[in-house]
C-alpha cells in the first residue's frame, strides 16, 4: 500500500485559509486528481479551516492543526482546533444552521464538506475544541 502523511500547524488568521487549501491541493497532486476533484477538496478544506478560525476561535488567537494522509487513492484530511467546541453537532450540521448570521455566514459549510467529500465526521467537546475528519477517494468515479 502507498502511504504518505503530512501535518502542519498555523495561526488562526484568515489569510491561512488559502494557504491551507493550496497546501492540501499540492499534497494530493501525486494521486492525479482531476480539476473537479481538486476544486471539491479545496472547498471542503476551506470550509473546515474557516470554521476553526471564525467559530472555534471566534476570530481570535489560536492554533489550527491540519493533517493529511494518503492511503493508496484515498485522501484523509483532519482539521483541528482547540476552541469553543460545538454543543450540538447534529444541529450544527443542518444546512442553513449558523450561530453567526450577523457575519453573513450562510450555514452551508458542513453541507459543502459532506457533498464534496465521500465521508465527514465531526468530533467536538464544548470548551475543548473540534476535529473534522474528511475522506475522499481520488479517481473513484
Amino acid at each position: 500500500m502507498y502511504r504518505n502523511r503530512m501535518y502542519l500547524e498555523f495561526e488562526s488568521k484568515s489569510e491561512n485559509e488559502k494557504f491551507a487549501r493550496v497546501t492540501v491541493a499540492a499534497f494530493v497532486t501525486r494521486l492525479n486528481p482531476i480539476l473537479e476533484e481538486l476544486a471539491d477538496i479545496k472547498t471542503a478544506v476551506s470550509e473546515a479551516v474557516t470554521n476553526a478560525i471564525v467559530h472555534g476561535y471566534n476570530g481570535g488567537d489560536g492554533t489550527v492543526g491540519l493533517e493529511c494522509i494518503i492511503e493508496d487513492n484515498v485522501l484523509t484530511v483532519i482539521v483541528e482546533d482547540k476552541g469553543v467546541g460545538i454543543p450540538d453537532i447534529e444541529k450544527a450540521k443542518k444546512p442553513l444552521y449558523t450561530t453567526k448570521p450577523e457575519q453573513d455566514r450562510s450555514g452551508m459549510g458542513f453541507m459543502f464538506m459532506e457533498v464534496f467529500m465521500d465521508e465527514m465526521e465531526v468530533i467536538s467537546q464544548v470548551g475543548k475544541g473540534t476535529k473534522v475528519i474528511m475522506k475522499k477517494a481520488i479517481g473513484a468515479k
Binding site: 485559509e17 488559502k18 476544486a39 472547498t43 476551506s46 457575519q103 453573513d104 455566514r105 459543502f112
Partner: protein, 107 residues
C-alpha cells in the same frame, strides 16, 4: 504573486462588482463592507456580481450574496451573476442560490 483586487463601479442604481480571484472568508469581509457602504449611501439598488476572474469560492461567498439579497429585496432590488465558471456554478446550484439570483450571460 499579484492578488487580483475586487473592482466596483456604479451606473445609475446598479453596482457591478468584479470579484477577486478567490472568494473565501478572508476576501469577503472587505467586499461586504464596501458593497454595504454603497447600499447605505442610498446609491445602489441592484448588484451584478461578475465572476470572470474568480476561480475559487466557498460558502463564505454564498454568504456575501445571500446577505446582500436580504438587504436589497426590501427595496425591490435584484442581484445577478455573470461569467460563472464550472466550479462556482456547481456551488450556486448546490446552495440553491439560483432561486434568488439571476444568471445573465452578459452585463
Amino acid at each position: 504573486m499579484e492578488q487580483q483586487l475586487t473592482k466596483y463601479s456604479i451606473s445609475g442604481d446598479t453596482m457591478v462588482v468584479e470579484l477577486t480571484k478567490e472568494l473565501d472568508h478572508h476576501n469577503s469581509v472587505s467586499i461586504r463592507e464596501e458593497i454595504d457602504r454603497q447600499i447605505y449611501n442610498g446609491k445602489v439598488k441592484n448588484i451584478i456580481f461578475d465572476f470572470k476572474n474568480t476561480t475559487f469560492m466557498d460558502s463564505s461567498g454564498v454568504g456575501v450574496i445571500l446577505g446582500r439579497h436580504r438587504i436589497l429585496k426590501n427595496v425591490g432590488g435584484v442581484i445577478a451573476v455573470t461569467n460563472v465558471n464550472k466550479a462556482v456554478d456547481r456551488l450556486f446550484m448546490i446552495s440553491g442560490l439560483y432561486k434568488i439570483v439571476e444568471k445573465s450571460s452578459e452585463i
